[in-house]
Symmetry: C2
Subunit: 373 residues, 2 copies
């Protein structure tokens, strides 16, 4: 990696929109190696001369760099209203950076990227951990001349990355927001993840991960998404919206043999699956799911209590009341083990885990106050 | 169907163990037809001369006729200790009948059964509802000379069948125990079921359901079982037992590319999947999952409130505190709509839905008292 001074970087800084940064070769935690990694990232706002107003926003499993609209990219982002001029993370004050995670498919090097010979990495893409993504993102920070983030903010897998940032680079993280995520992946999260991975690998089109440029394992990825989506939502939410109603003009009971018609909730999940399959690479889904399963901030560092007690970043911990994949209790356990008294800011949303995307405004004022945003 | 008098049937009654009964042709609710259906069933105890001491026990999705051990079949059953001499359902007093459901693979006609030409039904097996199974079981009762059950008892899909019995044949059901099941399948239950069905049909060995006698879709059925098993257990149960521990002598982090090692919870789910794949037919799993999704006691009969208010059987409603697939609230909703004041007897088990199998003893005394067993 080339050392870049803050001064140099600041003058070279992009004016918003989507960019890529080469960060050189990357050695992965479990032994993998890539000769060249590129990180895609978007920015909003302007880095000040001291490079002291930088905020890192980290996306969830199938998220992208596109956190919010900008003049460069006007399409709405996944946290529209949270990041922007006058928003909780006010881009009139803060320089916001949002990288695509290593292994992703939104511009950062991932399994669908080409090796030096022009062949997609596919099954040869290294096993990736949350820690690997943080190391890569630190190189991006170097390149941008940002030695210390005022805050690192993320939900779900983004929360895991934020926590890992604070544990790996304590001197580089002033504040962290860990939203809808605990200190480690749980048995249940791993269990649901395993079923998803196996659905992808069961698809005859998967071909061990080397399916490019042939047909993609859409069936398997679609099932994975359905399992995930159910766990991202709450039972009352789904039952309230769909009950056991039939999809209009379809009849789940219409055939003497296998039925053709669908229940409304099936149609809804089919739609969610189709949407993801169109925008996401199955290998990336697999690699990132493994990465999320690997989440364990204390691995190789001592006990979880020790590691969390040593965190120096100001914590902002949030959970969604109705989350049944990242239970509020896991956020409470995390908050309890961090230094000082840390309330868990609860999002009172009925939708489940996805409440961290849809209802963050409930805790936006607390986020600003606690992290000095 | 041949009419059989109670007298004739009683004298011909089997002495316990596994039997089969031909019930003739069956027309299915959604238009399917089978020229000949056979029901496998086990019995315990002795039917009295008045045929007034008969209890019907109905199994869950992947259950069988083998509720409990007997002198005829000494292997432990899925409700061992609930049914037997001196047990909650005391076979010294009660004549207990447990049929395998239509579409199953424990002796009753199902997709793996042969058609009159000796070819497995496979994809030609009719779409089956809970109501179809009840109609078939009524024919078995006719054949056994049982005009009225003292009680119909079941958990999960067995509970759906018990409730459907009481609604379909009010004059033939004196009491019903509906355990860990509501009045209809919910959006969430349907959603999880859909993911399971799609995992089975995605398996290249499935071949549209006509895989006999070739390789079976074990991968798909295994994934289905894993999804189901997670939902049958509770998050605290799984996390308490496994956390994010690695399986002994395996390392989830040991490979630079795809990992070979498993987390403990994965090994546990692999084991559960392998166990089911060995004992259960994928087509039966699919047909019965569809049947369970079809569960809706009010379909075609009026509003749920009307249908439940008209139930004449004495109800015994039970739920498992930690159940997150058949939520206690659904049992409460059912109990509220039945005539009279009906407490929901809560099983205080941490394991989730499966608590109806493992911890029924907690409500056994109530079951006996309420249903006069």
């Amino acid at each position: 990696m080339t050392a870049i001074t803050a001064q140099h970087a600041a003058t070279a800084l992009p004016e918003g929109g989507l960019h890529t940064q080469r960060i050189g070769a990357l050695d992965f935690e479990t032994g993998g190696h890539l000769p060249e990694v590129e990180l895609a990232y978007e920015t909003w706002g302007t880095l000040n001369a001291e490079a002291s107003n930088a905020v890192l926003v980290l996306h969830a499993l199938t998220g992208s760099t596109h956190v919010a609209s900008s003049t460069a990219i006007t399409e709405e982002g996944w946290w529209e209203g949270v990041v922007g001029p006058g928003c909780a993370i006010d881009t009139d004050r803060w320089f916001v950076v949002a990288p695509n995670v290593v292994g992703g498919c939104y511009g950062t090097t991932g399994p669908s990227s080409l090796d030096p010979e022009g062949i997609p990495w596919g099954s040869r893409f290294p096993f990736t951990t949350i820690r690997d993504s943080v190391h890569a993102e630190a190189r991006l920070a170097d390149a941008l001349g940002i030695s210390r983030w005022h805050a690192v903010v993320g939900g779900s897998m983004g929360g895991a990355r934020a926590l890992e940032w604070a544990a790996t680079y304590p001197e580089r993280v002033a504040g962290m927001a860990v939203i809808a995520c605990g200190a480690h992946s749980t048995a249940e999260q791993i269990a649901f993840a395993q079923a998803q991975i196996q659905a992808i690998t069961l698809d005859a089109n998967f071909r061990g991960g080397d399916y490019y440029p042939g047909p993609t394992p859409d069936g398997g990825l679609g099932i994975a998404r359905k399992i995930a989506h159910i766990t991202y939502r709450s039972q009352p939410d789904m039952d309230g919206r769909f009950g056991r109603g039939a999809q209009p003009e379809e009849d789940p009971f219409g055939q003497p043999l296998r039925r053709q018609g669908r229940y409304q909730v099936e149609s809804y999940l089919d739609y969610q699956a189709a949407k993801l399959v169109k925008r996401f690479d199955a290998n990336s889904y697999l690699v990132l799911t493994e990465a999320l399963m690997s989440h364990d901030v204390s691995r190789g560092r001592g006990t979880e209590a020790e590691v969390l007690a040593a965190i120096t970043a100001t914590p902002f911990i949030t959970a969604v009341e109705s989350d049944r994949l990242y239970f509020p209790g896991q956020s409470q356990e995390l908050a309890r083990q961090l230094p000082g008294e840390n309330p868990v800011y609860m999002i009172d949303s009925p939708v489940g885990h996805d409440g961290f995307l849809t209802d963050l405004d409930q805790v936006a004022a607390d986020l600003k106050r606690v992290l000095g945003l």
